[in-house]
């Protein structure tokens, strides 16, 4: 380690000895035998922490999967939530988290020069893999954000169906914009507008802390508002959870349609029995659905076109474009007192042509990725509408596996899961 430093230092000195601001004053000739102090800077064992992070992530998710699928108990989830809030939240101060890692992965795909750290990739893929196998066990209590909301949730006031449907689109839009801004290297908006990080770090942007506190207040009365209506990772996980291999069951016995689990569910993931009253000929229904799917490309196309037209506006939040605007303004009417950005630009040589090249590339990127993002938005909106128009008959209470966050509240409410009996007879 020390050798690396010495090599670096010598290289550095050799490279910079010609620089103008070095050695204006000669090295002092000490006569009193003065020794240079030994500077040593703290270097915590960061790799060890990353290792512990990953280990704990896997261990906690496996534990939740076991508790949910095998034992059907909620108590372990609460313990996992406490551990997660304490360790991932307050101790590790929330970075890097799985939600934010979406952006790193997207950037790694779009930009070949970006090297994604293995730990970040594991934070991204492991919860997805677990969701594919066991459902959203990550959301249950391993995610510090979900855990925090889970721990404060006392009452379950149900939001109306239309409100849930409209708000439920937000995570998808958030995800799409986060991807767009990540692949164009503009900003990591998921990290920028993280409402809970300020709470975990006990300080930060005031507005965001207020927003986070409001969300927490809301989650006392209704289940997990952040997970349901904001979290982009939850949108992603719901896809994999929908088709998961082992699925959560409320009871291993038959459902007796008592409505207790439906009442207990904080995230509205249990659908009640439903008799489709609108009787429609089968062929007519198929035709209707086909019509919708013919309509879908139209929505996708329109929305792709609209966002493509808006891409120059969107690209203005990129750092290079902001700088370019400033430089142009300065060139048009020169000021003597310039901003620090301009100062840095002119100190660095002030090459406008290279900047123009960069700006052009960014605009091109925004046009290309903006079109894709627009198409995806259209797809999300279209599929949501189609999904709303589909009515399926259900005979018993069914879990919507995409929405279920595996919190385990329903288990103890189900009269078929006779826990008292289990406890005392030891069956």
């Amino acid at each position: 380690m020390k050798r690396i430093y010495t090599i670096l230092v010598t290289l550095f000195l050799a490279a910079t000895s010609g620089a103008q601001n070095l050695n204006r004053f000669p090295k002092p000739d000490f006569e009193s035998g003065y020794q240079y102090p030994d500077t040593h800077y703290a270097l915590p064992n960061e790799q060890l922490w990353l290792f512990i992070d990953i280990f704990l992530l896997v261990a906690l998710m496996s534990f939740v999967a076991w508790a949910i699928l095998k034992k059907q108990r909620r108590i372990p989830i609460i313990w996992v939530s406490v551990i997660s809030v304490a360790y991932f939240g307050f101790f590790r101060s929330g970075c890097v988290c799985s939600i934010g890692s979406i952006q790193n992965v997207a950037l790694a795909f779009a930009d070949s020069s970006y090297v994604i750290p293995v730990s970040v990739f594991l934070f991204f893929i492991l919860p997805i893999a677990f969701a594919f196998l066991f459902g959203r066990v990550f959301c249950a209590g391993v995610c510090p954000f979900g855990a925090l909301q889970e721990l404060v949730n006392i009452r379950n006031y149900r939001l109306s169906k239309s409100v849930t449907a409209v708000l439920g689109v937000i995570p998808w839009l958030y995800l799409i914009f986060a991807l767009l801004y990540a692949v164009t290297r503009t900003s990591f908006i998921i990290c920028l507008y993280d409402p809970f990080i300020g709470i975990f770090r006990l300080g930060g942007d005031f507005g965001l802390i207020v927003f986070g506190s409001l969300l927490l207040l809301a989650s006392i009365f209704t289940g997990r508002p952040f997970c349901r209506f904001l979290c982009p990772y939850s949108a992603l996980l719901s896809l994999f959870s929908e088709v998961s291999i082992w699925k959560i069951q409320i009871t291993k016995k038959d459902c007796i349609n008592c409505d207790l689990c439906h009442n207990a569910c904080p995230v509205d993931a249990i659908k009640n029995p439903y008799e489709n009253k609108v009787k429609e000929e089968r062929m007519q229904g198929v035709k209707r659905l086909l019509m919708y799917f013919l309509f879908l490309p139209l929505i996708v196309g329109t929305s792709a076109y609209v966002l493509r037209q808006f891409s120059p506006e969107l690209s203005k939040s990129h750092k290079d474009l902001k700088l370019y605007e400033m430089v142009m303004e300065q060139e048009r009417n020169p000021q003597s007192l310039i901003s620090i950005e301009l100062e840095a630009f002119y100190i660095d040589g002030g090459n406008i042509e290279t900047l123009e090249e960069k700006v052009g590339a960014v605009k091109q990127d925004f046009k290309f990725f903006g079109t894709i993002a627009g198409a995806l938005i259209g797809l999300v909106l279209g599929l949501t509408l189609i999904n709303l128009s589909l009515k399926r008959s259900r005979k018993t209470y069914e879990i919507e596996h995409g929405d279920c966050v595996a919190c385990g509240r329903c288990f103890s409410y189900c009269p078929q899961n006779d826990f008292l009996n289990l406890k005392y007879t030891g069956k």
Binding site: A19, F25, P28, F30, Y36, V115, I347
Partner: protein
């Protein structure tokens, strides 16, 4: 005829099952494909995870003090003694154009009094940064780089930095001086 009737009767459930299976297959292969594609990336480059300032690029604009997510910034002033001139009239220690060269607060550059000065021998003085007091405002760095050898510089302290996924200072740094470095060179030091 009868067989046909049975299949049409059964078909909705079978179809749904089939769609679910198809979904599982797509989901599973997406996970594998993502892992596969990114696996090749891990090998091509060294992991770069830790934010550091390039002291050569830094323009000591002062954003490090204000834009870090930590309430007292993780950026501190470092001092490279080996390139320091040990001057009595130090551009990083005294403000410019002060009347009296004494240690009264109005004459000193550092707003928090984090620079400690010790007499070594005539005419040399040793300067040391008290990191608990330093807030990374870069006033001394500016002074030292403009009038001295540039031995005072800003750097991100590894034990304080919380390794945000995207460094908030890097986002606003006018000279793009903050980048990620591999753990093997956890500090970009000067001198």
């Amino acid at each position: 005829m009868e067989m046909k009737k049975e299949t049409t009767h059964k078909s909705p459930i079978e179809r749904r099952k089939f769609v679910k299976m198809l979904g599982s297959a797509v989901a599973g292969s997406t996970i594998l494909a993502t892992t596969g594609v990114l696996f090749t990336k891990f090998r091509t480059g060294e992991e770069t995870h830790y934010w550091q300032i390039d002291p050569q690029k830094c323009t000591h604009c002062g954003k490090c003090e204000t834009d870090c997510v930590l309430t007292v910034s993780a950026v501190k002033c470092f001092h490279a003694n080996k390139i320091c001139g040990y001057c009595d009239l130090c551009g990083g220690y005294y403000r410019s154009n002060v009347k009296d060269l004494n240690t009264a607060a109005e004459n000193l550059m550092c707003p928090t009094g984090a620079i400690q000065r010790k007499f070594v021998e005539d005419p040399y003085f040793e300067y040391k940064i008290d990191e608990d007091l330093c807030n990374g405002c870069a006033k001394c760095v500016k002074g030292c780089t403009s009038f001295g050898n540039g031995s005072l510089y800003l750097q991100i302290k590894r034990d304080l930095c919380v390794d945000c996924n995207e460094c908030q200072i890097a986002k606003v740094c006018p000279s793009n001086a903050i980048t990620r470095v591999p753990l093997a060179q956890a500090y970009k030091l000067k001198g």
